[in-house]
Protein backbone atom coordinates (compact mmCIF):
# COMPACT_ATOMS: atom_id res chain seq x y z
CA UNK A 1 0.00 0.00 0.00
CA UNK A 2 1.11 3.57 -0.67
CA UNK A 3 -0.16 6.91 0.63
CA UNK A 4 -1.84 7.43 -2.75
CA UNK A 5 -3.72 4.13 -2.68
CA UNK A 6 -4.73 4.88 0.89
CA UNK A 7 -6.25 8.19 -0.24
CA UNK A 8 -8.08 6.51 -3.13
CA UNK A 9 -9.46 3.81 -0.86
CA UNK A 10 -10.66 6.46 1.55
CA UNK A 11 -12.30 8.52 -1.18
CA UNK A 12 -14.17 5.50 -2.50
CA UNK A 13 -15.11 3.99 0.83
CA UNK A 14 -18.60 5.39 0.63
CA UNK A 15 -19.16 4.70 -3.03
CA UNK A 16 -22.62 6.16 -3.19
CA UNK A 17 -21.54 9.40 -1.64
CA UNK A 18 -18.46 9.66 -3.84
CA UNK A 19 -20.63 9.00 -6.88
CA UNK A 20 -23.22 11.58 -5.86
CA UNK A 21 -20.52 14.15 -5.26
CA UNK A 22 -18.93 13.48 -8.62
CA UNK A 23 -22.30 13.61 -10.38
CA UNK A 24 -23.39 16.84 -8.73
CA UNK A 25 -20.07 18.50 -9.49
CA UNK A 26 -20.26 17.18 -13.06
CA UNK A 27 -23.80 18.46 -13.63
CA UNK A 28 -23.03 21.84 -12.13
CA UNK A 29 -19.79 22.27 -14.08
CA UNK A 30 -21.56 21.15 -17.26
CA UNK A 31 -24.32 23.65 -16.58
CA UNK A 32 -21.81 26.40 -15.91
CA UNK A 33 -20.00 25.69 -19.17
CA UNK A 34 -23.34 25.67 -21.00
CA UNK A 35 -24.38 28.99 -19.49
CA UNK A 36 -21.07 30.62 -20.33
CA UNK A 37 -21.33 29.28 -23.87
CA UNK A 38 -24.87 30.64 -24.17
CA UNK A 39 -23.75 33.99 -22.87
CA UNK A 40 -20.96 34.10 -25.43
CA UNK A 41 -23.32 33.02 -28.21
CA UNK A 42 -25.81 35.76 -27.44
CA UNK A 43 -23.20 38.45 -27.32
CA UNK A 44 -21.22 37.55 -30.44
CA UNK A 45 -23.20 39.37 -33.15
CA UNK A 46 -22.77 42.88 -31.75
CA UNK A 47 -19.06 42.29 -31.54
CA UNK A 48 -18.60 42.18 -35.32
CA UNK A 49 -16.57 45.22 -36.32
CA UNK A 50 -18.02 45.59 -39.78
CA UNK A 51 -21.50 45.60 -38.28
CA UNK A 52 -20.77 48.81 -36.43
CA UNK A 53 -20.22 50.50 -39.77
CA UNK A 54 -23.67 49.57 -41.02
CA UNK A 55 -26.97 51.27 -40.48
CA UNK A 56 -30.41 49.89 -41.03
CA UNK A 57 -33.18 52.36 -41.75
CA UNK A 58 -36.75 51.16 -41.37
CA UNK A 59 -40.18 52.70 -41.34
CA UNK A 60 -40.72 54.61 -38.12
CA UNK A 61 -44.20 53.15 -37.72
CA UNK A 62 -43.07 49.53 -37.70
CA UNK A 63 -40.74 47.08 -39.30
CA UNK A 64 -43.60 45.65 -41.31
CA UNK A 65 -44.38 48.98 -43.01
CA UNK A 66 -42.51 49.40 -46.32
CA UNK A 67 -40.55 52.48 -47.38
CA UNK A 68 -40.75 54.23 -50.77
CA UNK A 69 -37.99 53.23 -53.24
CA UNK A 70 -37.43 56.83 -54.18
CA UNK A 71 -35.79 57.52 -50.80
CA UNK A 72 -32.66 55.88 -52.24
CA UNK A 73 -31.45 58.91 -54.13
CA UNK A 74 -31.82 61.10 -51.03
CA UNK A 75 -29.94 58.73 -48.71
CA UNK A 76 -27.19 58.29 -51.27
CA UNK A 77 -26.41 61.99 -51.17
CA UNK A 78 -26.06 62.21 -47.38
CA UNK A 79 -22.40 62.90 -46.52
CA UNK A 80 -20.68 59.94 -44.85
CA UNK A 81 -22.80 57.34 -46.63
CA UNK A 82 -20.50 55.04 -48.61
CA UNK A 83 -23.08 52.56 -49.88
CA UNK A 84 -26.77 51.93 -49.66
CA UNK A 85 -28.98 49.12 -50.88
CA UNK A 86 -32.60 48.14 -50.49
CA UNK A 87 -32.83 45.38 -47.95
CA UNK A 88 -36.16 43.61 -47.94
CA UNK A 89 -36.91 40.63 -45.76
CA UNK A 90 -38.72 37.99 -47.80
CA UNK A 91 -39.29 35.43 -45.02
CA UNK A 92 -40.14 32.50 -47.26
CA UNK A 93 -40.10 28.82 -46.48
CA UNK A 94 -37.47 26.73 -48.23
CA UNK A 95 -38.74 23.61 -50.08
CA UNK A 96 -41.30 21.87 -47.87
CA UNK A 97 -40.08 23.32 -44.58
CA UNK A 98 -42.71 24.80 -42.31
CA UNK A 99 -40.14 26.91 -40.52
CA UNK A 100 -37.02 28.04 -42.34
CA UNK A 101 -34.21 29.10 -40.09
CA UNK A 102 -32.28 31.30 -42.52
CA UNK A 103 -33.42 34.62 -43.87
CA UNK A 104 -33.80 35.68 -47.50
CA UNK A 105 -33.35 39.31 -48.46
CA UNK A 106 -34.02 41.16 -51.66
CA UNK A 107 -31.11 43.52 -52.41
CA UNK A 108 -29.57 45.50 -55.22
CA UNK A 109 -26.63 43.19 -56.13
CA UNK A 110 -24.35 45.95 -57.37
CA UNK A 111 -24.88 48.19 -54.36
CA UNK A 112 -24.95 45.31 -51.93
CA UNK A 113 -21.42 44.31 -52.91
CA UNK A 114 -20.12 47.40 -51.12
CA UNK A 115 -22.01 46.59 -47.95
CA UNK A 116 -20.75 43.12 -47.13
CA UNK A 117 -17.09 43.89 -46.64
CA UNK A 118 -16.09 41.26 -44.11
CA UNK A 119 -17.02 38.15 -46.07
CA UNK A 120 -15.38 36.56 -49.07
CA UNK A 121 -16.64 34.68 -52.10
CA UNK A 122 -16.18 31.03 -51.27
CA UNK A 123 -17.55 29.60 -54.50
CA UNK A 124 -19.01 30.78 -57.82
CA UNK A 125 -18.72 34.28 -59.14
CA UNK A 126 -20.37 37.42 -57.77
CA UNK A 127 -20.62 38.84 -61.29
CA UNK A 128 -22.80 35.87 -62.24
CA UNK A 129 -25.12 36.88 -59.42
CA UNK A 130 -25.23 40.44 -60.72
CA UNK A 131 -25.84 39.27 -64.27
CA UNK A 132 -28.71 36.85 -63.65
CA UNK A 133 -31.88 38.41 -62.29
CA UNK A 134 -33.19 35.05 -61.05
CA UNK A 135 -29.99 34.01 -59.28
CA UNK A 136 -29.05 34.23 -55.64
CA UNK A 137 -26.06 34.69 -53.36
CA UNK A 138 -26.00 32.10 -50.56
CA UNK A 139 -24.17 31.68 -47.25
CA UNK A 140 -21.75 28.77 -46.96
CA UNK A 141 -23.49 27.36 -43.86
CA UNK A 142 -26.76 27.02 -45.73
CA UNK A 143 -25.01 25.44 -48.73
CA UNK A 144 -23.41 22.90 -46.46
CA UNK A 145 -26.49 22.18 -44.43
CA UNK A 146 -28.64 21.38 -47.45
CA UNK A 147 -25.83 19.89 -49.52
CA UNK A 148 -26.23 22.51 -52.26
CA UNK A 149 -23.84 23.41 -55.06
CA UNK A 150 -23.46 26.21 -57.58
CA UNK A 151 -26.19 26.03 -60.21
CA UNK A 152 -28.71 24.30 -57.92
CA UNK A 153 -32.11 25.92 -57.59
CA UNK A 154 -33.66 27.10 -54.37
CA UNK A 155 -37.42 27.38 -54.17
CA UNK A 156 -39.14 29.49 -51.56
CA UNK A 157 -42.81 29.85 -50.87
CA UNK A 158 -43.73 33.30 -49.61
CA UNK A 159 -45.32 33.74 -46.21
CA UNK A 160 -45.20 37.53 -46.03
CA UNK A 161 -45.43 38.06 -49.75
CA UNK A 162 -48.04 36.25 -51.83
CA UNK A 163 -45.41 35.11 -54.32
CA UNK A 164 -42.94 32.23 -54.60
CA UNK A 165 -39.28 32.37 -55.60
CA UNK A 166 -37.26 30.04 -57.76
CA UNK A 167 -33.61 31.05 -57.56
CA UNK A 168 -30.43 29.67 -59.08
CA UNK A 169 -27.35 29.67 -56.87
CA UNK A 170 -24.70 31.86 -58.50
CA UNK A 171 -22.21 32.51 -55.71
CA UNK A 172 -21.44 31.57 -52.12
CA UNK A 173 -20.14 33.81 -49.32
CA UNK A 174 -18.28 32.92 -46.18
CA UNK A 175 -16.62 34.67 -43.25
CA UNK A 176 -19.43 36.94 -42.10
CA UNK A 177 -20.92 36.76 -38.62
CA UNK A 178 -23.85 34.78 -39.96
CA UNK A 179 -23.07 32.68 -43.03
CA UNK A 180 -26.62 31.52 -43.62
CA UNK A 181 -28.52 34.20 -45.51
CA UNK A 182 -29.78 34.06 -49.11
CA UNK A 183 -29.74 37.30 -51.13
CA UNK A 184 -31.57 37.85 -54.40
CA UNK A 185 -32.42 40.65 -56.84
CA UNK A 186 -34.82 43.26 -55.56
CA UNK A 187 -35.88 43.73 -59.16
CA UNK A 188 -37.20 40.17 -59.21
CA UNK A 189 -39.34 40.82 -56.15
CA UNK A 190 -40.54 44.12 -57.66
CA UNK A 191 -41.57 42.37 -60.85
CA UNK A 192 -43.35 39.56 -59.07
CA UNK A 193 -45.19 42.07 -56.90
CA UNK A 194 -46.12 44.31 -59.83
CA UNK A 195 -43.62 47.09 -59.09
CA UNK A 196 -45.15 48.56 -55.92
CA UNK A 197 -42.20 50.99 -55.63
CA UNK A 198 -41.39 50.05 -52.05
CA UNK A 199 -38.59 48.39 -50.09
CA UNK A 200 -38.53 46.80 -46.63
CA UNK A 201 -35.52 48.62 -45.17
CA UNK A 202 -32.40 50.45 -46.30
CA UNK A 203 -29.03 48.96 -45.62
CA UNK A 204 -26.42 51.72 -45.33
CA UNK A 205 -22.66 51.68 -44.84
CA UNK A 206 -20.94 54.70 -43.34
CA UNK A 207 -17.34 55.77 -43.81
CA UNK A 208 -16.31 55.31 -40.17
CA UNK A 209 -17.81 54.28 -36.87
CA UNK A 210 -17.30 57.74 -35.38
CA UNK A 211 -19.68 59.43 -37.77
CA UNK A 212 -22.39 56.77 -37.70
CA UNK A 213 -24.46 58.65 -35.10
CA UNK A 214 -24.23 61.74 -37.21
CA UNK A 215 -25.35 59.88 -40.33
CA UNK A 216 -28.22 58.27 -38.42
CA UNK A 217 -29.47 61.72 -37.38
CA UNK A 218 -29.20 62.99 -40.94
CA UNK A 219 -31.10 60.02 -42.38
CA UNK A 220 -33.85 60.47 -39.81
CA UNK A 221 -33.99 64.20 -40.47
CA UNK A 222 -34.12 63.75 -44.21
CA UNK A 223 -37.54 62.14 -44.02
CA UNK A 224 -38.96 63.94 -41.03
CA UNK A 225 -42.49 65.17 -41.69
CA UNK A 226 -42.85 63.08 -44.85
CA UNK A 227 -45.47 60.38 -45.33
CA UNK A 228 -42.78 57.75 -44.66
CA UNK A 229 -40.66 58.79 -41.72
CA UNK A 230 -37.75 56.46 -41.04
CA UNK A 231 -35.95 55.20 -38.03
CA UNK A 232 -32.28 54.53 -38.62
CA UNK A 233 -30.08 52.66 -36.20
CA UNK A 234 -26.81 50.78 -36.30
CA UNK A 235 -26.94 47.15 -37.34
CA UNK A 236 -25.76 46.37 -33.83
CA UNK A 237 -28.62 48.27 -32.25
CA UNK A 238 -31.02 46.71 -34.73
CA UNK A 239 -29.90 43.21 -33.79
CA UNK A 240 -29.92 44.03 -30.11
CA UNK A 241 -33.44 45.35 -30.53
CA UNK A 242 -34.26 42.04 -32.17
CA UNK A 243 -33.07 40.14 -29.15
CA UNK A 244 -34.36 42.75 -26.75
CA UNK A 245 -36.68 40.14 -25.36
CA UNK A 246 -33.50 38.61 -24.01
CA UNK A 247 -33.11 41.86 -22.15
CA UNK A 248 -30.40 41.71 -19.57
CA UNK A 249 -29.29 38.35 -20.79
CA UNK A 250 -25.76 38.84 -19.69
CA UNK A 251 -26.82 39.81 -16.21
CA UNK A 252 -29.33 36.99 -16.02
CA UNK A 253 -26.86 34.36 -17.12
CA UNK A 254 -24.24 35.84 -14.87
CA UNK A 255 -26.47 35.53 -11.83
CA UNK A 256 -27.62 32.02 -12.73
CA UNK A 257 -23.95 31.01 -13.09
CA UNK A 258 -23.17 32.47 -9.71
CA UNK A 259 -26.01 30.52 -8.15
CA UNK A 260 -24.78 27.35 -9.84
CA UNK A 261 -21.25 27.82 -8.57
CA UNK A 262 -22.51 28.65 -5.11
CA UNK A 263 -24.77 25.58 -4.95
CA UNK A 264 -21.91 23.51 -6.22
CA UNK A 265 -19.78 24.71 -3.36
CA UNK A 266 -22.41 23.96 -0.77
CA UNK A 267 -22.81 20.43 -2.09
CA UNK A 268 -19.11 19.65 -2.16
CA UNK A 269 -18.36 21.40 1.08
CA UNK A 270 -21.08 19.54 2.93
CA UNK A 271 -20.06 16.23 1.39
CA UNK A 272 -16.48 16.73 2.41
CA UNK A 273 -17.26 17.77 5.94
CA UNK A 274 -19.60 14.78 6.21
CA UNK A 275 -16.88 12.50 4.94
CA UNK A 276 -14.45 13.90 7.47
CA UNK A 277 -16.83 14.04 10.40
CA UNK A 278 -17.77 10.40 10.12
CA UNK A 279 -14.07 9.62 10.07
CA UNK A 280 -13.08 11.69 13.08
CA UNK A 281 -12.26 8.67 15.13
CA UNK A 282 -10.09 7.18 12.41
CA UNK A 283 -8.31 10.48 11.91
CA UNK A 284 -7.65 10.55 15.66
CA UNK A 285 -6.22 7.04 15.42
CA UNK A 286 -4.01 8.12 12.53
CA UNK A 287 -2.82 11.02 14.63
CA UNK A 288 -2.04 8.67 17.50
CA UNK A 289 -0.05 6.48 15.08
CA UNK A 290 2.14 9.47 14.29
CA UNK A 291 0.48 11.10 11.28
CA UNK A 292 0.88 14.84 11.50
CA UNK A 293 -1.69 17.50 10.72
CA UNK A 294 0.09 18.27 7.51
CA UNK A 295 -0.35 14.69 6.32
CA UNK A 296 -3.97 14.55 7.33
CA UNK A 297 -4.58 17.87 5.51
CA UNK A 298 -3.08 16.47 2.37
CA UNK A 299 -5.29 13.38 2.61
CA UNK A 300 -8.36 15.58 2.85
CA UNK A 301 -7.19 17.93 0.13
CA UNK A 302 -6.28 15.06 -2.18
CA UNK A 303 -9.67 13.48 -1.63
CA UNK A 304 -11.79 16.58 -2.21
CA UNK A 305 -9.54 17.63 -5.04
CA UNK A 306 -9.83 14.23 -6.65
CA UNK A 307 -13.61 14.17 -6.42
CA UNK A 308 -13.96 17.76 -7.65
CA UNK A 309 -11.59 17.22 -10.55
CA UNK A 310 -13.16 13.98 -11.72
CA UNK A 311 -16.61 15.59 -11.50
CA UNK A 312 -15.39 18.77 -13.15
CA UNK A 313 -13.70 16.92 -16.01
CA UNK A 314 -16.80 14.80 -16.62
CA UNK A 315 -19.05 17.86 -16.62
CA UNK A 316 -16.84 20.09 -18.74
CA UNK A 317 -15.93 17.51 -21.36
CA UNK A 318 -19.45 16.13 -21.24
CA UNK A 319 -20.86 19.57 -22.07
CA UNK A 320 -18.24 20.03 -24.76
CA UNK A 321 -19.05 16.65 -26.32
CA UNK A 322 -22.78 17.31 -26.11
CA UNK A 323 -22.75 20.77 -27.68
CA UNK A 324 -20.19 19.79 -30.27
CA UNK A 325 -21.98 16.60 -31.12
CA UNK A 326 -25.54 17.81 -31.69
CA UNK A 327 -26.73 20.18 -34.39
CA UNK A 328 -28.10 22.98 -32.25
CA UNK A 329 -28.59 25.19 -35.26
CA UNK A 330 -31.11 22.74 -36.63
CA UNK A 331 -32.61 22.01 -33.24
CA UNK A 332 -33.22 25.65 -32.37
CA UNK A 333 -34.19 26.69 -35.87
CA UNK A 334 -31.11 28.79 -36.19
CA UNK A 335 -31.51 30.67 -32.94
CA UNK A 336 -28.24 29.19 -31.74
CA UNK A 337 -25.65 29.37 -34.48
CA UNK A 338 -22.31 28.14 -33.25
CA UNK A 339 -22.70 27.42 -29.56
CA UNK A 340 -18.99 26.85 -29.43
CA UNK A 341 -17.56 25.62 -26.13
CA UNK A 342 -14.28 27.50 -26.36
CA UNK A 343 -11.07 26.43 -24.59
CA UNK A 344 -11.41 29.57 -22.53
CA UNK A 345 -14.84 28.56 -21.27
CA UNK A 346 -13.61 25.05 -20.51
CA UNK A 347 -10.66 26.51 -18.63
CA UNK A 348 -13.05 28.66 -16.60
CA UNK A 349 -14.97 25.51 -15.67
CA UNK A 350 -11.69 23.84 -14.75
CA UNK A 351 -10.66 26.73 -12.54
CA UNK A 352 -14.01 26.55 -10.76
CA UNK A 353 -13.52 22.80 -10.18
CA UNK A 354 -10.00 23.31 -8.83
CA UNK A 355 -11.15 26.15 -6.61
CA UNK A 356 -13.98 23.94 -5.41
CA UNK A 357 -11.58 21.16 -4.47
CA UNK A 358 -9.50 23.57 -2.42
CA UNK A 359 -12.46 25.40 -0.95
CA UNK A 360 -14.29 22.26 0.18
CA UNK A 361 -11.27 20.99 2.06
CA UNK A 362 -10.89 24.13 4.14
CA UNK A 363 -13.51 23.51 6.79
CA UNK A 364 -12.70 19.80 7.24
CA UNK A 365 -9.02 20.71 7.53
CA UNK A 366 -9.78 23.21 10.26
CA UNK A 367 -11.84 20.58 12.05
CA UNK A 368 -8.99 18.10 11.82
CA UNK A 369 -6.45 20.65 13.02
CA UNK A 370 -8.58 21.27 16.07
CA UNK A 371 -9.20 17.59 16.68
CA UNK A 372 -7.37 16.27 19.70
CA UNK A 373 -6.53 12.59 19.66
CA UNK A 374 -8.22 12.01 22.99
CA UNK A 375 -11.43 13.74 21.90
CA UNK A 376 -11.39 11.95 18.57
CA UNK A 377 -11.04 8.59 20.25
CA UNK A 378 -14.07 9.33 22.42
CA UNK A 379 -16.35 9.94 19.43
CA UNK A 380 -18.45 6.91 18.70
CA UNK A 381 -18.51 5.40 15.29
Amino acid sequence: MTIASFVVKNALRNRRRALLTVISVAISCGLLVTLLTLQRELTIPPESEAASLRIIARNKVSLAQPLPSKQLSIIEKIPGVVAVSPFTYFGGNFREETVTSFAQFAVDPVRFKNLIVEGRIADGNYDDFIADRTSCFVGADTMKRYGLKIGDRMRFSGTFYPVDLDLKIAAVFQGTVDDRGVFFHHKLLDELMGNPGTVGTWYIRVASAEISNDVIAKVNDAFANTSAEVRAETERAFQMGFISMLGNVKLLIGSVSTVVVFTLMLVTVSTMSMAVRERFRELAVLKALGFRRRELFSFILAESFGLALVGGALGIFGAWALWTGIDLQKLTNGFLLYFEVTPRIMATGGVVAVFLGIFSSISPSIAVARLSVVQGLKTLD
Binding site: K9, V285, L289, G290, R293, L377, D381
Partner: protein, 226 residues
Protein backbone atom coordinates in the same frame (compact mmCIF):
# COMPACT_ATOMS: atom_id res chain seq x y z
CA UNK B 1 16.53 -3.30 39.15
CA UNK B 2 19.66 -2.28 37.37
CA UNK B 3 18.33 -0.56 34.24
CA UNK B 4 17.22 3.06 34.00
CA UNK B 5 13.46 3.36 34.27
CA UNK B 6 11.83 3.87 30.88
CA UNK B 7 9.00 5.94 32.34
CA UNK B 8 9.62 8.50 35.05
CA UNK B 9 6.58 10.44 36.21
CA UNK B 10 6.76 13.18 38.82
CA UNK B 11 3.89 15.06 40.46
CA UNK B 12 1.70 14.74 37.43
CA UNK B 13 -1.62 16.55 37.58
CA UNK B 14 -4.33 16.97 34.99
CA UNK B 15 -7.44 18.99 35.55
CA UNK B 16 -10.33 19.90 33.31
CA UNK B 17 -12.63 22.84 33.50
CA UNK B 18 -16.18 21.55 33.25
CA UNK B 19 -18.27 24.69 33.19
CA UNK B 20 -17.34 26.46 36.43
CA UNK B 21 -16.20 23.22 38.00
CA UNK B 22 -12.55 22.20 38.10
CA UNK B 23 -12.37 18.43 37.67
CA UNK B 24 -9.11 16.84 38.74
CA UNK B 25 -8.40 13.72 36.71
CA UNK B 26 -4.85 13.20 38.02
CA UNK B 27 -3.66 14.56 41.34
CA UNK B 28 0.12 14.47 41.85
CA UNK B 29 0.95 11.08 40.42
CA UNK B 30 4.58 9.94 40.64
CA UNK B 31 5.66 6.65 39.15
CA UNK B 32 8.66 4.77 37.70
CA UNK B 33 8.33 1.97 35.19
CA UNK B 34 11.26 -0.27 34.25
CA UNK B 35 11.88 -1.54 30.73
CA UNK B 36 10.15 -4.84 30.05
CA UNK B 37 7.55 -4.40 32.78
CA UNK B 38 3.90 -5.27 32.13
CA UNK B 39 2.13 -2.69 34.26
CA UNK B 40 -1.59 -3.05 34.84
CA UNK B 41 -3.59 0.06 35.79
CA UNK B 42 -6.77 -0.62 37.71
CA UNK B 43 -9.31 1.47 39.52
CA UNK B 44 -12.91 2.60 39.42
CA UNK B 45 -14.43 4.43 36.49
CA UNK B 46 -13.36 8.06 36.37
CA UNK B 47 -10.27 7.47 38.52
CA UNK B 48 -7.95 8.80 35.78
CA UNK B 49 -6.54 5.59 34.28
CA UNK B 50 -7.07 6.59 30.68
CA UNK B 51 -5.83 10.10 31.35
CA UNK B 52 -2.56 8.77 32.79
CA UNK B 53 -2.13 6.36 29.88
CA UNK B 54 -2.78 9.14 27.34
CA UNK B 55 -0.16 11.40 28.89
CA UNK B 56 2.46 8.63 29.00
CA UNK B 57 1.66 7.82 25.34
CA UNK B 58 2.00 11.44 24.28
CA UNK B 59 -1.55 12.05 23.05
CA UNK B 60 -2.50 14.29 25.96
CA UNK B 61 -0.59 16.89 27.93
CA UNK B 62 -0.40 17.27 31.72
CA UNK B 63 -1.51 20.41 33.54
CA UNK B 64 1.62 20.23 35.68
CA UNK B 65 4.36 17.79 36.61
CA UNK B 66 6.60 15.93 34.22
CA UNK B 67 6.58 12.74 32.19
CA UNK B 68 10.02 11.59 31.06
CA UNK B 69 10.00 8.68 28.66
CA UNK B 70 13.40 7.23 27.79
CA UNK B 71 14.92 10.38 29.22
CA UNK B 72 12.80 12.72 27.05
CA UNK B 73 10.41 15.15 28.67
CA UNK B 74 7.61 14.77 26.17
CA UNK B 75 5.88 17.91 27.42
CA UNK B 76 8.70 19.84 25.74
CA UNK B 77 8.01 18.41 22.29
CA UNK B 78 5.87 20.36 19.84
CA UNK B 79 2.94 18.78 17.99
CA UNK B 80 4.87 17.40 15.06
CA UNK B 81 7.86 16.26 17.13
CA UNK B 82 5.42 14.49 19.38
CA UNK B 83 3.79 12.83 16.38
CA UNK B 84 7.18 11.53 15.21
CA UNK B 85 8.00 10.44 18.71
CA UNK B 86 4.75 8.46 18.97
CA UNK B 87 5.34 6.86 15.62
CA UNK B 88 8.76 5.60 16.70
CA UNK B 89 8.27 4.86 20.37
CA UNK B 90 4.65 4.00 21.16
CA UNK B 91 2.26 1.30 20.02
CA UNK B 92 -1.45 1.79 20.70
CA UNK B 93 -4.10 -0.83 21.39
CA UNK B 94 -7.64 0.45 21.95
CA UNK B 95 -10.74 -1.11 23.44
CA UNK B 96 -12.63 -0.82 20.17
CA UNK B 97 -9.77 -2.01 17.90
CA UNK B 98 -9.95 1.13 15.72
CA UNK B 99 -8.87 -0.53 12.53
CA UNK B 100 -9.54 1.31 9.26
CA UNK B 101 -12.49 -0.59 7.75
CA UNK B 102 -11.54 -0.07 4.08
CA UNK B 103 -8.06 -1.51 4.56
CA UNK B 104 -7.07 -5.17 4.84
CA UNK B 105 -5.42 -6.49 7.97
CA UNK B 106 -1.98 -6.22 6.35
CA UNK B 107 -2.66 -2.67 5.15
CA UNK B 108 -3.84 -1.66 8.62
CA UNK B 109 -0.64 -3.03 10.10
CA UNK B 110 1.37 -1.24 7.42
CA UNK B 111 -0.14 2.20 8.18
CA UNK B 112 2.41 3.41 10.77
CA UNK B 113 5.23 2.24 8.47
CA UNK B 114 4.07 4.64 5.74
CA UNK B 115 5.65 7.36 7.84
CA UNK B 116 9.05 5.69 7.82
CA UNK B 117 11.72 5.52 5.13
CA UNK B 118 11.32 1.77 4.65
CA UNK B 119 10.96 0.41 1.13
CA UNK B 120 7.74 -1.36 0.30
CA UNK B 121 9.52 -4.73 0.37
CA UNK B 122 10.88 -3.99 3.84
CA UNK B 123 7.45 -2.83 4.95
CA UNK B 124 5.87 -6.02 3.69
CA UNK B 125 8.43 -8.09 5.54
CA UNK B 126 7.80 -6.28 8.82
CA UNK B 127 4.05 -6.55 8.38
CA UNK B 128 4.37 -10.29 7.82
CA UNK B 129 6.53 -10.68 10.93
CA UNK B 130 4.07 -8.69 13.05
CA UNK B 131 1.07 -10.63 11.79
CA UNK B 132 2.89 -13.88 12.44
CA UNK B 133 3.64 -12.81 16.00
CA UNK B 134 -0.08 -12.42 16.70
CA UNK B 135 -0.90 -15.69 14.91
CA UNK B 136 -2.61 -14.14 11.89
CA UNK B 137 -0.05 -14.80 9.17
CA UNK B 138 -2.76 -16.19 6.88
CA UNK B 139 -5.28 -13.35 7.44
CA UNK B 140 -3.37 -10.46 5.94
CA UNK B 141 -5.73 -9.97 3.03
CA UNK B 142 -8.93 -10.01 5.15
CA UNK B 143 -10.76 -6.81 5.92
CA UNK B 144 -11.76 -6.04 9.54
CA UNK B 145 -15.42 -6.87 8.93
CA UNK B 146 -14.38 -10.35 7.82
CA UNK B 147 -12.70 -11.08 11.15
CA UNK B 148 -13.82 -11.78 14.70
CA UNK B 149 -13.31 -9.25 17.48
CA UNK B 150 -10.40 -11.23 18.88
CA UNK B 151 -8.74 -11.39 15.48
CA UNK B 152 -9.28 -7.66 14.94
CA UNK B 153 -7.67 -6.89 18.29
CA UNK B 154 -4.71 -9.08 17.37
CA UNK B 155 -4.38 -7.13 14.10
CA UNK B 156 -4.39 -3.97 16.23
CA UNK B 157 -1.59 -5.41 18.37
CA UNK B 158 0.36 -6.23 15.22
CA UNK B 159 -0.12 -2.60 14.12
CA UNK B 160 1.12 -1.46 17.56
CA UNK B 161 4.30 -3.49 17.42
CA UNK B 162 5.17 -3.27 13.71
CA UNK B 163 7.35 -0.17 14.25
CA UNK B 164 9.16 -2.01 17.05
CA UNK B 165 8.34 0.61 19.74
CA UNK B 166 9.72 0.37 23.26
CA UNK B 167 6.35 1.15 24.77
CA UNK B 168 2.97 -0.44 24.15
CA UNK B 169 -0.12 1.12 25.73
CA UNK B 170 -3.45 -0.65 25.82
CA UNK B 171 -6.69 0.87 27.16
CA UNK B 172 -9.07 -1.96 28.15
CA UNK B 173 -7.93 -4.11 25.21
CA UNK B 174 -10.15 -7.00 26.26
CA UNK B 175 -13.20 -4.90 27.12
CA UNK B 176 -15.04 -5.94 23.96
CA UNK B 177 -13.83 -9.54 23.79
CA UNK B 178 -15.10 -12.92 24.96
CA UNK B 179 -13.04 -14.82 27.55
CA UNK B 180 -11.20 -17.00 25.03
CA UNK B 181 -10.18 -14.11 22.75
CA UNK B 182 -9.30 -12.00 25.78
CA UNK B 183 -6.97 -14.77 26.95
CA UNK B 184 -5.26 -14.85 23.52
CA UNK B 185 -4.75 -11.08 23.52
CA UNK B 186 -3.44 -11.01 27.09
CA UNK B 187 -1.04 -13.86 26.38
CA UNK B 188 0.36 -11.95 23.42
CA UNK B 189 0.83 -8.77 25.47
CA UNK B 190 2.47 -10.81 28.20
CA UNK B 191 4.89 -12.44 25.81
CA UNK B 192 5.73 -9.03 24.31
CA UNK B 193 6.94 -7.86 27.68
CA UNK B 194 8.44 -11.14 28.82
CA UNK B 195 10.05 -12.37 25.58
CA UNK B 196 10.47 -9.25 23.45
CA UNK B 197 11.40 -6.89 26.28
CA UNK B 198 8.65 -4.38 25.46
CA UNK B 199 7.26 -2.20 28.20
CA UNK B 200 3.51 -2.73 28.27
CA UNK B 201 1.05 -0.51 30.14
CA UNK B 202 -2.52 -1.77 30.19
CA UNK B 203 -5.69 -0.39 31.71
CA UNK B 204 -8.27 -2.96 32.76
CA UNK B 205 -11.29 -3.41 35.01
CA UNK B 206 -10.93 -7.16 35.16
CA UNK B 207 -8.84 -8.66 38.03
CA UNK B 208 -8.32 -11.85 36.01
CA UNK B 209 -6.70 -9.83 33.24
CA UNK B 210 -4.55 -8.10 35.81
CA UNK B 211 -3.00 -11.45 36.67
CA UNK B 212 -1.12 -11.42 33.35
CA UNK B 213 0.80 -8.31 34.36
CA UNK B 214 4.06 -8.12 36.28
CA UNK B 215 2.84 -5.25 38.45
CA UNK B 216 -0.55 -3.77 39.29
CA UNK B 217 -1.21 -0.14 40.13
CA UNK B 218 -4.43 1.06 41.66
CA UNK B 219 -5.77 4.51 40.92
CA UNK B 220 -8.40 6.21 43.00
CA UNK B 221 -9.62 9.76 42.39
CA UNK B 222 -6.52 10.61 40.41
CA UNK B 223 -4.04 9.22 42.90
CA UNK B 224 -2.09 5.97 43.06
CA UNK B 225 -3.18 4.06 46.13
CA UNK B 226 -1.33 0.77 45.67
Amino acid sequence: MAAEPIVVIRELTKSYLQGDLNVTALNGVSLDIQPGEFVVLMGPSGSGKSTLLHIIAGIDRPTSGSAMIQGINIANLNESQLADWRNQNVGFVFQSFNLIPVLTAAENVELPLLLTDLSSAERRKQVATALELVGLADRGHHRPDQMSGGQQQRVAIARALVTDPALIVADEPTGNLDAKSAGDVLAILQSLSRDAGKTVIMVTHDPKSAAYGSRSLHLEKGEITA
